[in-house]
């Protein structure tokens, strides 16, 4: 939502193109990638609420673009070369206010091993030294795990953390979080910008565009859980003996949203990428 509106905060970081952004796959593999990618991405959308979706989505988006971009390379090599390098980054920016002192909020995030408590797609983060860490995300349904190394590039106590994956990661990604005092003794404003890079090219940009809103929601809910945990020590849930027909409700929710969007002013603040 607050896309590029971080105000005075520093330039937005996008992970440099490394590993997956280099095209080196054969036709058979590309077709498999496209099919597998579509399946994963749609699974991801369906699993969004359970918080498992992001790994599926990213994995799906990754495979999807890998396959499609490979195809483009063969047939439209020239065209592909004209595409801007940043177009295929997925980038989400969200802000929350947490009713706790800034030092406490910063410290919880800085201990990266806490992240899987509220970032549902992560199964583990291990800090290997003062600035390096090993991250693992599980792709549900036995589809394996994805892991990568990350480095804290900039760290200012109680104010700012910026990390990014090391060159050669399966999914290049980066994150920066800014912590500020909220006015009127309302605790701390947390502003997070998380980005993922998909393989470069036309189709990569298209996939990023399609996946971005979904990833936005997932990251927004990650941050909400961060707030829930810091403020109350627990994450609210309504599981239990209520409701039966899951799908009927889904379509109702959708209609509910649509009926409102119909009336809503969608100004520049709400514009999505």
């Amino acid at each position: 939502m607050l896309e590029n509106k971080s105000g005075d905060s520093s330039a937005i970081h996008i992970p440099p193109a490394t590993g997956s952004s280099i095209i080196n796959i054969g036709t058979g593999e590309r077709i498999a990638s496209v099919l597998g990618g579509l399946a994963l991405a749609s699974l991801g959308v369906r699993n969004m609420k359970k918080g498992k979706g992001i790994a599926l989505l990213l994995g799906g988006g990754y495979l999807l673009t890998r396959g499609l971009v490979g195809y483009c390379a063969v047939n439209h090599a020239l065209h592909r070369n004209t595409v801007s390098k940043n177009a295929s980054a997925i980038q989400v920016s969200r802000a929350f206010t947490i009713n706790k002192p800034r030092a406490e909020v910063y410290a919880y995030w800085r201990k990266l091993e806490n992240l899987p408590r509220f970032m549902k797609h992560l199964s583990e983060v291990k800090e290997t030294d003062a600035t390096h860490s090993h991250w693992t995300a599980v792709i549900p349904r036995g589809l394996g795990t994805v892991s990568w190394e990350a480095e804290i590039v900039e760290d200012r106590a109680d104010e700012y953390i910026f990390w990014q994956s090391l060159p050669g990661s399966t999914i290049d990604n980066a994150g920066e979080v800014t912590f500020k005092d909220a006015p009127g003794q309302r605790g701390t404003e947390v502003h997070a910008i998380i980005s993922y890079r998909l393989p470069a090219g036309d189709v990569g940009a298209l996939a990023a565009k399609l996946i971005n809103p979904v990833v936005e929601l997932l990251i927004q809910e990650d941050l909400r859980r961060f707030k829930n945990i810091l403020e109350t020590g627990e994450i609210p849930t309504a599981e239990g003996p209520s409701g039966r027909l899951q799908d009927k409700v889904r379509s109702k929710l959708k209609k509910f949203k649509q009926s409102y969007q119909h009336h809503n002013y969608e100004g520049p603040m709400l514009e999505r990428h």
Partner: protein
């Protein structure tokens, strides 16, 4: 356990469902002693609040006995008799910690959904649709209460169940209506709606210093109660022109404070009722703002509209010109149960308030569907049916 489940518009059934369990450290499980119907449930029955799902347990106004507690529950113990506020608050976010419990940031598991439609989430509410959290309601043998130390209050010895059950919802809502009205000495307060909420608003308006209260409805026995028990002057909107009558009764000024205790399903004999009814049926308008319009025009210059009647979406033809040019203040909200309940328990114990007359029917839960039908159609002089699941 047995529970009263919503299965579609005007389709309620008592069903056997799994027992609730402790899911979070601050949860408690309560065995329900009494659970009341509320006007808000009628919006669910009529299909005006979307995101209900077949099998949802409804009910949110209740008292019970603590049977299990999570490991972070410190103030409650098994066996405690408690009254639980209908709206869930964490007690820690910036809203809860300043008394605005119904605006809680942390109690609605489906916060993202309300954020999309309202721009921000509201608190979770028991048995009140998935947009408001999807929590199981209280028309059941057992109910899980999150943030139990914050929302469940021990009932003082000597207070009867009949008297205290409405301290869960109708009474704090009526109290908040009077509180938001900002009553000053000498004020004349008009209350639209003489259901449980309106009747409580009348009593609380007097408690907070109103000089006179004028109550408006059309149902004879409700008007009689408003007059005989709550001591309001009463107007039947089917028999008199409300604008004329209110002017006449207030020396031509209009009421100083106007309370809407009716909400989105208001009824009216006038032409605007048909207009809104048709638009609402076609879903071009979610809510019928008949009382809001009437109150905005009736209110004296510089007065206050206090709105506790529930609205869900959009309204048409609201006289903003009257609000602006008469410099009215509008205050509204779902009630902040946790802020008011302790104070209200004291008023009850000291006999300064007694809502027990709202309880016109005490029925077993097996008659749940029948009870709602009676309440909805206002049959048999029903004001509130209270179920006794156990």
């Amino acid at each position: 356990m047995k529970a009263l489940c919503w299965n579609g518009i005007n389709d309620l059934r008592v069903e056997t469902v799994p027992d609730p369990v402790i899911l979070n450290p601050q949860d408690a499980i309560i065995r329900v002693i009494m659970s009341s119907v509320c006007g808000s449930d009628l919006h669910l029955l009529g299909g005006y609040i979307p995101t209900m799902k077949a099998g949802d347990i409804i009910g949110h106004e209740f008292i019970g006995e603590v049977v299990d507690i999570g490991k972070e529950v410190k103030k409650l113990a098994k066996g405690d008799r408690v009254v639980v506020g209908s709206i869930i608050g964490c007690g820690e976010c910036s809203y809860c910690s300043t008394g605005a419990w119904s605006l809680c940031d942390n109690s609605n598991p489906n916060a993202a959904l309300l954020e999309k439609v309202y721009g921000a989430t509201s608190a979770g509410i028991f048995g009140y649709s998935h947009a408001f959290g999807g929590y199981a309601g209280s028309h059941a043998d057992l109910i899980r209460v999150p943030f139990a130390d914050k929302g469940a209050f021990k009932i003082p010895e000597g207070l009867t169940n009949e008297k205290v059950v409405f301290a869960s919802d109708a009474l704090p809502t009526g109290y908040m209506a009077a509180d938001m009205a900002g009553i000053q000495s000498g004020d004349i307060v008009a209350v639209w709606g003489c259901g449980g909420v309106g009747l409580m608003a009348i009593q609380c308006a007097y408690l907070l210093g109103a000089e006179r209260v004028i109550a408006i409805d059309r149902i004879p026995e409700r008007l009689r109660m408003a007059n005989e028990i709550a001591h309001a002057e009463v107007l039947n909107y089917e028999q008199v022109d409300i604008q004329e009558a209110l002017k006449e009764m207030t020396g031509g000024r209009g009421p100083d404070r106007c309370i809407d205790a009716v909400g989105m399903e208001a009824h009216s004999p006038g032409i605007d009722y048909m207009y809104d009814r048709v638009k609402q049926t076609l879903r071009l308008e979610n809510d019928r703002p008949i009382v809001l319009r009437e109150a905005a025009v009736a209110c004296r210059k510089g007065g206050t509209l206090s709105v506790v009647g529930v609205y869900g979406g959009f309204i048409d033809k609201f006289p903003m010109g009257a609000v602006m040019n008469k410099a009215l203040t509008i205050r509204t909200g779902q009630m902040h149960a946790q802020k008011y309940i302790p104070k209200l328990l004291t008023h009850l114990a000291q006999n300064e308030l007694d809502p027990s007359f709202l309880l016109t029917h005490l029925w077993p839960l097996s008659r749940g569907a029948e009870g709602y039908d009676m309440f909805k159609k206002k049959k048999d002089k029903c004001l509130r049916v209270v179920f006794t699941p156990n």
